[in-house]
Point group: D2
Chain length 154, copies 4
C-alpha cells in the first residue's frame, strides 16, 4: 500500500501563508479550522468541537466533519498545482465513525493519486485518540482561464 507520488512542484510560500492562519469569515472561519501542517501531498488541519457546534443530542453536528473534509480537499491541492490552476472538489465520500462530544478534531489528508486532470485524496479525522471520520474524494484540476488569485483559494 505504498505507491509513492512524486510531486512536480510545491509552493512553499503559499503553504507558509496558509499554515497557522484561521479565516476570519466563511464556514471555515465559523468552524475555526486551522491548517497546522502543509507539505507536498499532505495536510493536517484542526478544529475545536466547541459547545456551539454540539447539537441537542450532545454530539457535534456531522456537517462540521464533512465541511472540514471538504476544506482539506481543496487546500491540499493548491501548492502542488502550477500557479493559477484551480482545484474543484468533484465529489467525496465520508464515513462518520464515532460521535464527537468535545475536544480537538485533527484531520490528516493525503493525496494518493494525481494526474494532470484529477487527484484522489484520503482524509482521516481523529478526536481524543479515536478515529471519528474517514473520507475519500476526487479533485478536478482546472487550467487557468484568468490571472491567478493570490488570496485564499478554497
Amino acid at each position: 500500500m505504498t505507491t509513492e507520488i512524486q510531486f512536480d512542484r510545491f509552493d512553499e510560500e503559499w503553504a507558509r501563508r496558509v499554515v497557522g492562519r484561521t479565516s476570519p469569515k466563511g464556514i471555515d472561519g465559523y468552524l475555526g479550522i486551522t491548517v497546522t501542517e502543509l507539505t507536498a501531498g499532505r495536510l493536517v488541519a484542526e478544529m475545536e468541537a466547541r459547545e456551539e457546534l454540539i447539537t441537542a443530542l450532545g454530539t457535534m453536528h456531522g456537517g462540521c466533519l464533512s465541511a472540514l473534509d471538504d476544506h482539506c480537499l481543496g487546500v491540499i491541492m493548491y501548492p502542488v498545482m502550477p500557479p493559477g490552476y484551480w482545484a474543484a472538489t468533484t465529489e467525496f465520500k465520508i464515513n462518520l465513525l464515532a460521535p464527537v462530544t468535545g475536544g480537538r478534531c485533527v484531520a490528516t489528508a493525503e493525496i494518493r493519486s494525481m494526474t494532470r486532470r484529477l487527484a484522489v485524496v484520503v482524509i482521516s479525522v481523529e478526536n481524543n485518540g479515536r478515529l471519528v471520520a474517514l473520507a475519500q474524494g476526487t479533485s478536478t484540476i482546472v487550467a487557468p482561464k484568468q490571472p491567478a488569485n493570490a488570496g485564499d483559494r478554497n
Copy 2:
C-alpha cells in the same frame, strides 16, 4: 425506478415543529438552513448562499453543501422512526456539480430504502434552476438506550 416504500409511521407533530424553523445556533443555524417541507420519506430544506459563505474565489465553499446534505440526512429520518429511536449518519457521498455564486439552495431529500437497521437517502440540491449537488447516504437506525429527547434531534 419507482419502488415505493411504505412507512409504518410518520410523526406529524415532530414534522410540524421542525418545518419553517431556523436554528438559532449550530452549523445549521450559521448556514441558515430551514426545512420547508417534511412528509413521510421526503424533505425539502433551503439555505441562502449569502455573501459570508462565498470564498475569495467567488463561489460558495463546498463545505456548505455537504453540511446541508448531512443535515437533511439526519432530519428526514426522525418522523419515520419509532419514538426515541436515533438516526446516526453512517456515511454519505456527494458530487458537487456546479459552482454556487449566490441565491437560494434548495435540497430535496428522499428515503429510497429503509429496513429496521438502515436507510438510504438520496439528496439533490438546486440553485438558480441548476442541479448543483447530488448525494447518496446511509443512516443507521439505533434503538433507544435512554428516554427520547424531545428537542432538536439532529
Copy 3:
C-alpha cells in the same frame, strides 16, 4: 428534483448495435448483461442471478451488482459524446440494499449532470420488484488521442 439535461447529440446507430446484444466474452459476457434500452442519457440493462453467481450463503455475490453498475456507467456515456471520445469511470459509490437470491436484475441508469469534462450518473437496480442497489458515479470525458474504435467501447 427535475433539472432536465439537454444532450447535444445521440448516436442512434451505436445504441442500436448495443441494445439486445450480449457480449460473448469479458465480465459483462460472463454475467450475461444485456442492454435492453438506450436513449439519450438513459439506459436499462438486465442480467439473470443464475445459480453460478449465487454464493454458499445463498445470495448473489455483491461483485455482480457492482460490475453491472460499472458496466452501465460506461455504456450510457458513449452515444451522447462526440465520436471518438472516451468515457473513463472515475469513481462510483454503490449501496447494496437487499440480498438477491435469483431472478432478473434490472438496472436503470440516468445521466443527471453532464459538462464537457464530467458526467454524473445514478443507477438503481431492481430484482423481483424490490430495489436491491443504488449507485452514483462520475465519468470523465476524454477527447480522442487516436481514431475512434468502432467496436464495443466499454
Copy 4:
C-alpha cells in the same frame, strides 16, 4: 493516521482454509481471485488481468476491480467476527485511478474501524507498481439467525 484497532478474535483456521484457494465457481472464481494473506483486520488478494478480461478498448473492465474490492470487503470480516455472524456489504465507493492492461492486480484491504454493528474497510489495488484503485466501504455485522455455515461465506 494510526489509530490502531484491537480485534477481540481472529479465526486462524478459517483464514488458513481461505488463503491460497481459488474458488472453482462464482464471479470470484471467474476472476481468479486468490486471497494470499489474511490476518486480523488485513487481507491481500490477487487476480490476473488476463486477456479474457480486457475489453475492445484494450483495458480491463472496471467491473473486475469493483468486484475484487467487493470480494475483499466480505472476506476480511469473517475471521474477526464471532462464529456464525454474517457480514453484509452495505456500501462502498471506489476510485478507478489508472487503466489496467495486463499483469497482476494486488488488493490490500484493511479494517480501519469496527464496532459491534459496523466496520469500515479501505482497499487499495496495485498493478505493475502503480496504484490503480482506491476504495472505502462499510460492512454491517449481523448476528446469527441460524447455525453458522462452515463453507465459503462470501
